[in-house]
């Protein structure tokens, strides 16, 4: 069975066309199916609608002439082999057509049926082989040129004979520059190895190089394949550095850092386990973390898998329990579950805490004891003051009562001296009674429980002074009271304090025709200072130290009455509030009492 070949015969001369057709039909080397065209346009029309294995082309057509016809067809249909038919005269044109891409040429008049068919057949074959070669060459060229790996061929002396674009890129040198140069790295045919290409002082590339010995154009050569690994290498370096950094952190940490698998076995333990707990690291990897933790403490830890903060004891290599505080959490790594825990030795702190707790407990115990003692003392004092008020007063009443009865019933039997003496007895009795009362007041101030509120001193002062004014309307005393002076203190005691101080001012100004009593406050670096000032009898600063001592009096009773308890009471009230009181004075110029409360 012959191969069937579709032939387009482009020939304007019907005779020639018929002749050629006849010749081909008689051929025994293939079955030629022929379509004919008289014009170029006709041929192109056929080429559009049919496929052909070859074109037999007469160059001189009515619509195209000479070598131009060949050029047009080769350009338009490069995939179809063309055999050119020329006239007798022009073997030269035939040669020209070959140069332009025609497969062969035949000279009309010299054509014989056998060579014609053979020429066609061979043209077709040759064209096919050429195409295949061309395709294969293109494929390989693409493989080489588009390859990311650099491909270099050197001769045995290392002189570069071939480079692909990747190699140009890798060495950052043009092909022209590289070719003929000596490859500067050792070429050995052993294992692939890594080379460092320094393109610039800060532009370095790493490449894995493989070398294969080949024969190239009949000469033994080296085929070098270089794979750029710079990116991988950089990532590796970064990773190594990062790893190194984390290792340094972990290994130099004083905390115990560990990673255990799901069963609790160590897969990593920081060197602190060795330095702190004295477990050799190697030995540790045979142990379970959980086995080192105090069982009781372990039970209290609800869930290791959650991030949690907990305190627990860990046993060290010597068998001592050490207190730890740490956190742990679960991670998934390489499809396995691990628990990472970081904990810190807080043994010293716990010991210190316990010591503090113990001391606190002791202190509390001591406070309780002292409070009880104080309460007992207070009770004693209370019953003492009760006795004082009851038992000391009763005899006084008798003394006064019977003195009075004597004065009434035996008046005629007593001379004026006797009566005077009895009156003195009675006077002393009343004084004694006042002393007892003041003494009790003073002791009550010591015992009373403080209840602090905001107390308006101005109001207390005004109330008291207005009261005094009602009692002694004849007196001419001017009050200067700053409005709304507040203290945070016990209101009951503040009232006693103000009444004592203002009572003194009232009392010690009574021998002055005109007087001023002033109550005010001001701020200084220590805080808020409150003062009560008068321009009365005053006192000698030399005696200022005695002012606040109970029963000390700077004035005689005949001049100014009093028991000497008032300022002692004032002092005690200030002291109970944790404050401070002081006095300034000058004889017959006045006195100023100042106090400060915390």
């Amino acid at each position: 069975m012959f191969e069937q070949l579709q032939i387009l015969l482009v020939e304007d001369s019907p005779g020639d066309a018929r002749l050629i057709e006849e010749m081909l039909k008689e051929s025994h080397i293939a079955e030629f199916k022929i379509k004919k065209a008289k014009l170029k346009s006709e041929a192109f029309e056929l080429l559009k609608n049919y496929s052909f294995d070859a074109i037999l082309l007469d160059l001189n057509l009515p619509d195209s002439y000479g070598i131009e016809t060949c050029t047009t067809f080769v350009r338009e249909y490069p995939q179809i082999p063309i055999v050119v038919l020329t006239g007798n005269e022009s073997e030269q044109i035939g040669e020209e057509a070959l140069m332009l891409g025609a497969q062969d040429y035949l000279i009309k008049g010299q054509i014989d049926n056998r060579p014609l068919a053979r020429a066609l057949r061979f043209s077709i074959e040759r064209f096919r082989i050429q195409k295949r070669l061309q395709n294969s060459e293109t494929r390989f060229r693409i493989m080489i040129e588009k390859n990311d790996d650099s491909i270099i061929i050197t001769d045995k002396g290392g002189i570069i004979k071939f480079v692909n674009p990747a190699a140009e890129k890798l060495f950052n040198k043009s092909k022209e520059k590289l070719l003929g140069e000596k490859f500067e790295y050792p070429i050995t045919e052993e294992k692939p190895y890594e080379i460092l290409i320094t393109r610039n002082h800060d532009d370095k590339r790493y490449a894995d190089m493989r070398i294969v010995e080949i024969e190239w154009e009949n000469v033994p050569m080296n085929l070098l394949t270089l794979h750029d690994i710079t990116e991988r290498k950089t990532a590796e370096n970064l990773l190594r550095e990062s790893e190194e950094r984390f290792r340094l952190i972990s290994e130099n940490s004083l905390d115990l850092i560990s990673m255990v698998n799901e069963n609790g076995y160590f897969v990593y333990a920081s060197p602190s386990f060795e330095t702190l707990l004295e477990y050799p690291t190697r030995e540790l990897y045979k142990k379970r973390l959980f086995d080192l933790i105090n069982k009781e403490d372990l039970e209290k830890i609800p869930n290791w898998k959650n991030k949690l903060q907990s305190k627990f004891r860990i046993i060290d290599a010597k068998g001592f329990w050490r207190w730890m505080e740490g956190s742990s959490y679960t991670i998934l790594w390489k499809h396995q579950t691990f628990i990472i825990s970081v904990c810190r030795d807080i043994t010293e702190r716990i010991i210190a805490d316990n010591e503090i707790k113990k001391l606190n407990a002791e202190l509390e115990q001591r406070v309780v004891q002292r409070t009880a003692e104080l309460e007992a003392a207070n009770k004693e004092l209370e019953s003492f003051s009760f006795s004082v008020s009851h038992d000391l007063r009763a005899p006084l009443r008798s003394i006064d009562g019977f003195s009075k009865i004597l004065l009434e019933d035996y008046k005629d039997k007593l001379d004026s001296f006797g009566q005077d003496y009895l009156n003195r007895v009675r006077h002393a009795t009343i004084r004694m009674s006042n002393l007892i009362d003041d003494f009790l007041k003073l002791s009550r101030i010591t015992r009373i429980e403080l209840t602090r509120t905001n107390v308006n001193l101005s109001q207390i002062a005004l109330d008291y002074l207005n009261e005094q004014r009602k009692i002694n309307p004849e007196r001419n005393v001017k009050f200067i009271v700053s409005p709304d002076i507040y203290v945070y203190a016990d209101s009951q005691l503040m009232k006693i304090l103000m009444e004592n101080l203002l009572g003194n001012s009232w009392k010690f100004t009574r021998n002055h025709g005109e007087a001023v009593i002033e109550i005010g406050s001001y701020e200084n670096k220590d805080g808020k200072i409150f003062f009560i000032k008068d321009d009365g009898a005053g006192f000698d600063m030399a005696n200022a130290g005695k002012l606040f001592t109970p029963f000390e009096r700077l004035h005689s009773s005949s001049e100014y009455e009093g028991t000497g308890i008032g300022l002692a009471t004032v002092h005690r009230i200030i002291a109970r509030h944790g404050g401070r009181i002081w006095a300034e004075g000058e004889i017959e110029k006045g006195a100023k009492f100042s106090f400060i409360l915390p």
């Binding site: 009760f386 008020s389 009443r397 009075k404 009865i405 009343i430």
Partner: protein, 147 residues
């Protein structure tokens, strides 16, 4: 007609003497009965012990009670007086030397009608007795069937 008495509970003989004198000068028509300790006071009021023969219908119009008493304390006497049906409405004036806040509070809590501190000055003492008598025996109205 029976005149109701005043009961003075006082252990101090001096105070008793002074009280008697004060009463003497006050011209009350009421006789003054004096008992000297808490037990005696209770016996008198409940007609027990040494007073078992006393007519239980004759209740004092006023009790003047000292707090610091031998045998049974004044506050205890007050408590007994207020618990017994016969005596619970009798006015009780505490007449004592103490003015401890605690005593005042306790006395009122237990139902005292007044709390008076014996003044030291005799004139004041006499005035005080007079005032007490005047108030409780003349001015103040009490239920008719008291006692």
């Amino acid at each position: 007609m029976f005149t109701k008495s005043i009961l003075l509970v006082e252990d101090n003989p001096d105070d008793e003497a002074l009280a008697l004198r004060a009463f003497g000068s006050s011209n009350f028509p009421h006789p003054l009965r004096v008992v000297h300790d808490g037990k005696e006071a209770i016996d008198y009021l409940l007609c027990t012990g040494g007073f078992s023969n006393r007519n239980p219908n004759e209740m004092p119009a006023l009790i003047m009670l000292d707090l610091k008493l031998p045998k049974v304390a004044g506050l205890k006497v007050l408590q007994v007086v207020r618990t017994h049906e016969r005596t619970k409405l009798v006015p009780v004036v505490i007449l004592t030397s103490s003015k401890e806040e605690k005593d005042v509070l306790n006395a009122y809590s237990l139902g005292a009608n007044s709390y008076i501190r014996k003044p030291i000055r005799f004139e004041e003492f006499v005035d005080t007795i007079k005032e007490i008598g005047k108030y409780w025996l003349r001015l103040n109205e009490l239920p008719q069937n008291l006692g």
